[in-house]
């Protein structure tokens, strides 16, 4: 009985959202607002159990690590965001988090630039590796705007556009397939779990 009610509610809410394909309507808006509320409500106990208890409550009150009262007080400063005169206090927790940007400089240079460069500088031993090399260089030159894209240089940078278009096409194809698999999942739920038309 509980399974039937659960499937019925899930099916009704699924149909409410699909109703948007016709046009914006009160059923869709109800489901949309319900989703926002439930999602936020879902996060609260999880943050409390998985973040507040182990990193704030337990160390301070059970283990006696009183130093953590300071970051807790800094965290409370977030709430001052809503006050007119003291909203600047909320910059302190933000500033503490932003400090990690110092690690971002070498890390982004390493992971996104040096590793990519190292993999790009492999021996050209096949047509495919030659194409990868030409594609990478032409795309990088396409984004170099200090030199006008004219003449032979312009034609070479134009090759970069073609490579990017194929790359965007591949990403687009993947995204569409991911969404369609979700759609198939929902239709399978409606026709299988709910209506029992497919096994």
């Amino acid at each position: 009985m509980l399974e039937f009610i659960s499937n019925l509610i899930a099916a009704i809410l699924t149909l409410f959202i699909f109703s948007f394909l016709y046009k914006d309507n009160p059923f869709y808006r109800f489901a949309e607002h319900l989703l926002v509320g439930v999602s936020m409500g879902y996060a609260i106990p999880l943050v409390y159990i998985n973040a507040f208890i182990p990193f704030v409550y337990r160390p301070i009150f059970l283990e006696g690590n009183l130093w953590l009262i300071i970051p807790s007080c800094i965290g409370i400063l977030y709430i001052f965001r809503f006050t007119r005169n003291l909203s600047w206090l909320s910059r302190y927790p933000i500033a503490f988090g932003m400090g990690i940007v110092g690690m971002g400089v070498p890390m982004s240079m390493h992971s996104s630039v040096l590793v990519q460069m190292r993999n790009a500088m492999r021996p050209i031993d096949s047509i495919n590796s030659f194409l990868i090399f030409i594609g990478t260089v032409s795309i990088l030159l396409y984004f170099y705007f200090s030199k006008p894209h004219k003449g032979l240089y312009g034609k070479f940078t134009n090759v970069g556009i073609w490579f990017m278009m194929v790359g965007f096409g591949a990403s687009f194809g993947y995204t569409v397939m991911a969404r369609i698999s979700l759609l198939i999942g929902r239709i399978q739920f409606l026709l299988g779990d709910f209506l029992g038309l497919i096994k």
Partner: protein, 206 residues
Amino acid sequence: MKRQIPLIIVITLGFLFVAHTFIPSKASVDFYDWWVSWAKAISPFAVVLGILSLFMVHGTKIQRKAPNWQYSVVTLLALVVTAVSGFAWGTNEGTPFLWLFQNVQMPMSATMFSLLAFYIASAAYKAFRAKSPQATVLLIAAFIVMMGQVPIGAAISKWIPETAQWILNVPNLAAKRGIATGVGLGMTATSLKILLGIERTYLGSD
């Protein structure tokens, strides 16, 4: 006090993190552990900010009886019921909290994302209608990659999955590598601007 001290915190911590990365030592490991423990203690309070923000936005709509205020009641009621069920009965298997997740939140969010299949398809039709050779290449690449992922592609020709894989391994790799390098350089430049105090927009306006 309002801008200078947060800026000094960012710059000081930023340079300490640079030192932590380049000078491995016990002191740098201790510094990193200290920062992580403090950041973990600060982070749960950001959720309070989100909850208050949601309550203020929807509470104001309800209070002023703004158009469609009834939906704001649904949002706040759903938030309170879900959160209270989590605190009252726990979050384990078989609790009302997990039931709400499995039968309300999960089906709705999956359906919401599946809706995008229709809108991506219609937007793609409008945007990429093979108006130029480049747009045609994009469409063909997308079509081959999509067909390469489903059984019908292999049923039509064994070349389709192979071509799809070649597109992913060669031109797509070159494109991703070029873009990733540009993004990496951009991230490094932006991080440096924040570190040196040139970029300050994250502090907001006065």
